[in-house]
Symmetry: C2
Subunit: 145 residues, 2 copies
Amino acid sequence: MTCNTAEINRQLRKSGYRVTPQRQLILEAVCQLGEHVTPETVYDHVHRIAPTLSRATVYRVLHFLTEQRILAMVLMAEGRLAYEMSGPEPHHHLVCRTCDSLLELPHSVLQSFLRAMETQYDFEIDVSHVSFFGHCADCRSSDGA
Amino acid sequence: MTCNTAEINRQLRKSGYRVTPQRQLILEAVCQLGEHVTPETVYDHVHRIAPTLSRATVYRVLHFLTEQRILAMVLMAEGRLAYEMSGPEPHHHLVCRTCDSLLELPHSVLQSFLRAMETQYDFEIDVSHVSFFGHCADCRSSDGA
DNA sequence: TTTCCTGTTGCAAAAATTTACAACAAGATA
DNA sequence: TATCTTGTTGTAAATTTTTGCAACAGGAAA
Ligand SMILES: [Mn+2]
Ligand SMILES: [Mn+2]
Ligand SMILES: [Zn+2]
Ligand SMILES: [Zn+2]
């Protein structure tokens, strides 16, 4: 995932927020660390670079960047939380509650459902990253034994 | 929500688990307290009745009863977690990230989507209670100002 | 009833997450 | 560049949630 810093910074300033070194570091970290990054992973990474950067700031900034739609919050198994860049091409998850496995869904499979929610309920679902929990084929067959 | 204790107890024993006073208390609590009950609310309630019942047990039992499909885990705004009885008639949520409001969806609106996931991905989504996050009509119009 | 096995609990400590508040610093303005 | 406003951060403490472990107790079997 490419992280268009210049554009993001411009957007933040335009909204009256500030571009701090902490925010830049944390955003870069999520960008580099990949798809489903936990707060602790981010902290470990940025803390190595900026030892005074606190855990509180990591949590606050992840939350803030999510509100700004720059990051997407990802619900993993067991209620664990992760983050990733909110790119132009979202995908979604089928998360198995038994084996923790992840099946990735292309955005297209949700399209018609989302449109229906907009039409029927006037509600715009945040499409950045939706997780569905349930049970995968493997776990269902071995469990039914 | 009626809480068929006898039937639930039978089911637990059949699976090799035990019916303890703690589990019974916690289940009753969720049952009585209503739809979206937080761990802390449950703890306050049961702790009044059984002062030695610990927070750890509340968390463990809520998790356990969810695994047994007796309770359903409900994702609320801001990543907060709640529980409720997993009844025969599930419903789902449209959660507004701006104003925290909840729109309830009848189960039927998900039916065809769920069937598609089963057919295409051989994945059985846990239908007990699904939450979608996004932005409601009110917040979208006032925000676009 | 008594015995026995093993699933569960309470406790205390650890880990994760949030919060209050004073010091700080981004960046707009002059 | 110096100044000023106000959004942000670090610290420490408060909350919330998880975990290890020894003592306990459900309930099957005798
Ligand atoms: Mn993903
Ligand atoms: Mn509900
Ligand atoms: Zn599985
Ligand atoms: Zn709203």
